[in-house]
């Protein structure tokens, strides 16, 4: 079986059963009534190697927003994008020059709703190893590849709690070399870890 076939089978199998997912951030209480979520998509780009890797970006520290954040390539789905998969591919092309025709789409996984109203769809894709990716200086400082198994191993996921008078908010942090992966990206990785069978929890 190829990597793409194995991942596809694992994703289908993982989504077949009920699993305990990390709850999305609670909705912003300041938003009244039906919240209109902004569609967003990220590309979970997995490199086709014996020990598959995961491609992540490091955003510029000079950016006005999300400065220095480690993130999947991705962003808001534009009106011109036919769907979320197209949105994720376009963002990956714009951010790190990943050619869309090099991505073998595996499927999509659990949506993650952020507190501020983004509805993020993770799009899984397999890419050839050692593509000449080039960060676009305006948005992305750098990209890096870490072993997929490391990113999804629950043992590498540090649970952080911010608590004040019973208002608790948990988040995950994954530390790999000098990189710090936390927040939304770590939450999506935690969910993927469960769906892909790295972190089975008896439901």
């Amino acid at each position: 079986m190829t990597l793409a076939e194995r991942l596809r089978a694992a994703l289908i199998e993982g989504h077949r059963e009920e699993t305990i997912l990390l709850p999305s951030a609670t909705r912003d209480p300041r938003i009244d009534g039906e919240m209109v979520l902004a569609p967003a998509a990220v590309l979970v780009a997995i490199t086709d190697r014996a020990d598959p890797g995961l491609i992540l970006t490091q955003r510029s520290s000079s950016l006005r927003t999300h400065a220095g954040q480690v993130a999947f390539p991705g962003g808001r789905v534009d009106e011109s994008d036919p769907d979320e998969i197209a949105g994720a591919l376009r963002e990956a092309r714009e951010e790190i020059g990943l050619p869309s025709d090099q991505v073998q789409i595996i499927g999509t996984s659990d949506r993650y709703h952020t507190f501020t109203g983004f509805d993020i769809v993770p799009v899984l894709g397999v890419v050839p190893p050692d593509l000449p990716l080039v960060p676009q200086q305006s948005e992305v400082d750098d990209w890096f590849e870490l072993p997929l198994a490391f990113a999804l191993d629950p043992a590498n996921r540090i649970k952080r709690v911010m608590e004040f008078q019973g208002a608790e908010r948990h988040y995950y942090e994954i530390l790999w070399k000098e990189r710090r992966i936390w927040g939304v990206t770590a939450a999506i990785l935690a969910n993927l870890s469960r769906r892909l069978g790295y972190d089975r929890i008896a439901a």
Partner: protein
């Protein structure tokens, strides 16, 4: 000297202070240096409720009024001060509570404005820092208000701040407001 109930302590009339408030000017409490003349028998509880002789002061306008003549002394204690009187007041935690948050913009362009239980508005920024300090039972978030006085950030407001910070991502868990970065993860 016998203690009069607080409404009588002011030589500034209610109308005077109300006028100052309406003009968004606070009484110049830092310029007044009367003799200390006793205890107000007032207390501000951790949740921001004001008490007088053990009973909560129900009138919001009264609390708002008193809050304008509240001053922090160099020794860290609190007093209610007018040009002619200075009475001590007990403060359990912080004299104000930030009860509502408004956030505009994202990332480094974000501006956070808080409404206090006294109705004052405070914009977090270089002069009004948001800090998280370790207390007896975990971290407590505070907002600098004025004259050495802070507001304890209410639980629901803190929850909003943390969620905004987690969405924001970045190098540290925290938020920008008016050009200053405020970490929320408690680490120094």
């Amino acid at each position: 000297m016998p203690m009069e109930p607080p409404p009588d302590l002011a030589s500034l009339s209610l109308t005077d202070i109300a006028r100052l408030l309406a003009e968004k000017r606070l009484p110049p409490v830092d310029k007044w240096n009367p003799e200390h003349c006793g205890d107000s028998e007032m207390r501000i509880a951790r949740d921001g409720t004001w008490f007088h002789q053990g009973s909560p002061i129900g009138r919001e306008a009264m609390v708002r009024l008193f809050s304008t003549i509240l001053r922090r002394e160099p020794d860290g204690s609190y007093v209610l001060v007018t040009p002619v009187e200075k009475l001590s007041i007990e403060v359990e935690d912080a004299p104000f509570v930030a009860v509502e948050l408004k956030s505009e913009g994202v990332g480094k362009d974000r501006a956070l404005a808080f409404r206090l239980n006294t109705g004052d508005l405070v914009a977090a920024g270089p002069d009004n820092a948001l800090t998280v300090r370790e207390g007896e039972n975990g971290p407590h978030p505070y907002l600098y208000v004025r004259g050495g006085m802070e507001a304890l950030v209410a639980r629901s407001v803190y929850y909003e701040l943390v969620n905004l910070a987690l969405d924001e991502g970045g190098e540290r868990v925290g938020l920008w407001s008016n050009g200053a970065f405020f970490p929320l993860d408690g680490a120094a």
